[in-house]
């Protein structure tokens, strides 16, 4: 019988194979789409780490994402630092920002957590909307891409850039999947399942939540620097709560707490937005219908559905083992 873990490995393989397959057959528009999917997939995985695994549903991840993009803009466009250094510095800056935010927000729980992350995100949005030095509501143009010509990679070629983005997404996936298999990762899962018990066992749960949020911020910051390099033009809209909401929709659709689900969710939402919108103006409506079906079925998104199917098949194959307890 196929285990739940095996199924996830298979889903992950199929997902990345589909992305690479699409990349090998598509043209310019497809490359743009793949880069966008990859950016949101990374952001969605970063949110899944806190929302799906640690139990902290943040509505402020768009702001961390946008903050990363703006820091990259600040370092490269305004301060003239090389893109590679600028990228690293932007990720560090976003991590520090997330750490400071986390120290405040982990004090509250549930709906209050959602509200306070939303409020802090909106503060960030307002700041960059007004701050003329970084372009204010006009946004910031002329962001550079990494120069990898030293190793023979030309990132200004859309095809190469798209493939590089798939590779980065895979790397982020592998790092997080590894992390979640370590004791630290297991502790995060435990905090999600039963924080009271974890505290009674002796885990300082606030410190774990803060560290997970900061780590998630680092990955959101990475996604920000990538979107900045992709579009080479950023606006405060990146920080807006609607971005955070959309990423939350992606992980719920794909499967909260499954890591590969958020990638699938990012692909579906991005494709729907571009493809469905050419057939109908009501694409958001159909996305809503889809989301309601997923949530009402209580199967943890698409990955949860597939796992449910796996169980059905497994039960049908060996009906005689129904009672073994």
């Amino acid at each position: 019988m196929m285990t739940s873990e095996r199924l996830r490995q298979l889903i992950t393989f199929v997902t990345f194979a589909a992305l690479v397959g699409y990349w090998s057959t598509t043209g310019y528009f497809g490359y743009e789409l793949i880069a966008e999917i990859a950016v949101f997939a990374i952001l969605a995985m970063s949110l899944d780490l806190v929302a799906g695994y640690t139990g902290l549903v943040s509505l402020g991840h768009g702001a961390l994402f946008g903050f990363g993009a703006y820091m990259f803009g600040l370092f490269t466009v305004k301060l003239g630092i090389a893109p590679a250094t600028g990228m690293a510095a932007a990720i560090v800056a976003t991590t520090i920002c997330a750490l400071l935010v986390a120290m405040v927000v982990v004090r509250v729980h549930g709906i209050f957590f959602i509200m306070i992350t939303l409020a802090i995100g909106e503060m960030g949005y307002e700041f960059f909307f007004k701050y003329r030095y970084l372009g204010g509501d006009d946004g910031l143009v002329g962001l550079p891409r990494l120069d990898l010509s030293g190793i023979g990679v030309n990132l200004s070629d859309p095809s190469v850039f798209a493939l590089a983005m798939i590779v980065v997404t895979l790397c982020v996936f592998l790092v997080l999947a590894y992390l979640l298999r370590t004791p630290y990762g297991r502790v995060l899962t435990g905090i999600h399942e039963n924080p009271q018990r974890m505290r009674a066992l002796g885990f300082p749960i606030r410190a774990y939540r803060i560290s997970a949020f900061a780590l998630s911020g680092a990955i959101a910051g990475l996604a920000g620097t990538l979107t900045a390099q992709h579009t080479q033009f950023i606006t405060p809209q990146l920080l807006h709560w609607t971005t955070s909401g959309e990423v939350l929709v992606m992980i719920i659709l794909g499967g909260l707490g499954s890591l590969v689900g958020p990638i699938i969710g990012a692909a579906i939402v991005t494709l729907l937005r571009h493809e469905l919108s050419s057939y109908t103006d009501y694409w958001g409506f159909w996305l809503g219908v889809f989301l309601i079906i997923v949530v009402v079925s209580r199967k943890d998104g698409i990955v949860g559905w597939l796992d449910y199917l796996r169980q059905l098949v497994a039960e049908r194959r060996r009906p005689e083992t129904a009672e073994e307890a």
Binding site: T182, P183, G185, R186, E193, N194, R199, L201, G202, F203
Partner: protein, 246 residues
């Protein structure tokens, strides 16, 4: 050893813990009994730090822990089980016990090595599973198991962190006589370097395992003495045991 000095807790005008003092030396099995609402679980919550006392002191091995957080106290060796099963129901038995083994092995911050590769954690997990008698269900999800076995996991989790003082809140509640017999046996078999404080309604079990008994009533200590003293006390017979013990 655990020492509690004149502990008080009130919720507004309601005083639920009133001048409670306890001495629990190493190795002692100390039972806390009393009618429903006597403040037994409140006392536990004060000891573990889930509630803050209004007055009084809690001292563990010469260290004043009155104002420490629950997780700090747990790391110092004060462990508890819960009256209602408080497990990781979505995980397997192995994953549940591994959570406590991670604390025991101090590996919670380890983010560079896979859990599956850490043999000390696996060993600790299996050791505890053997002690509480759940080794044969290690790979089963907790939510599929019977209430009695979940109760054993509850005790196993509290035990796996290798505490100095183990607080058991009605470990046999809701269990069949056969299952409580198993828990009772388990408690008597626990190593003697461990002090055990147990809240229990099953008087048979209390008189079987306890070296010392504190009787609580309306948040106050009614009597503190050996099982014989408690058994022969008129005031205890009247207020709690209802004379129906002999």
């Amino acid at each position: 050893m655990l020492s509690v000095e004149a502990l008080e807790k009130s919720f507004g005008a309601l005083q639920v813990t009133n001048q409670v003092s306890l001495q629990v030396p190493t190795g002692i099995r100390h039972a806390i009994i009393g009618p429903n609402g006597a403040g037994k679980t409140t006392l536990f919550n004060l000891l573990t730090g889930e509630l803050r006392p209004t007055a009084g002191r809690i001292v563990l091995d010469d260290l004043d822990i009155t104002h420490l957080t629950p997780d700090r106290r747990a790391r110092l060796g004060l462990s508890r089980s819960f009256q209602r099963n408080n497990l990781f129901t979505g995980l397997t038995v192995r994953q549940n016990l591994a959570m406590a083994a991670i604390v025991h092995e101090r590996r919670g911050r380890c983010f560079w090595r896979p859990l599956a590769g850490l043999s000390t954690i696996a060993e600790r997990t299996e050791e505890i599973a053997d002690i509480v008698g759940i080794a044969d269900v290690l790979e089963r999800p907790v939510r599929e198991l019977s209430y009695g076995i979940q109760r054993q996991i509850e005790v196993g989790l509290a035990l796996a962190t290798a505490p100095k003082v183990l607080l058991l809140d009605e470990p046999t509640s809701g269990m069949s006589p056969e299952e409580s017999g198993r828990i009772m046996h388990l408690i008597t078999e626990l190593p003697r370097e461990l002090a055990v404080v147990i809240i229990e309604h099953d008087m048979h079990l209390v008189f079987e395992v306890a070296d010392r008994i504190t009787v609580l009533n309306y948040g106050k200590v009614l009597l503190d003495g050996t099982p014989e003293e408690v058994r022969s006390s008129d005031v205890v017979q009247e207020t709690y045991l209802g004379g129906g013990l002999d």
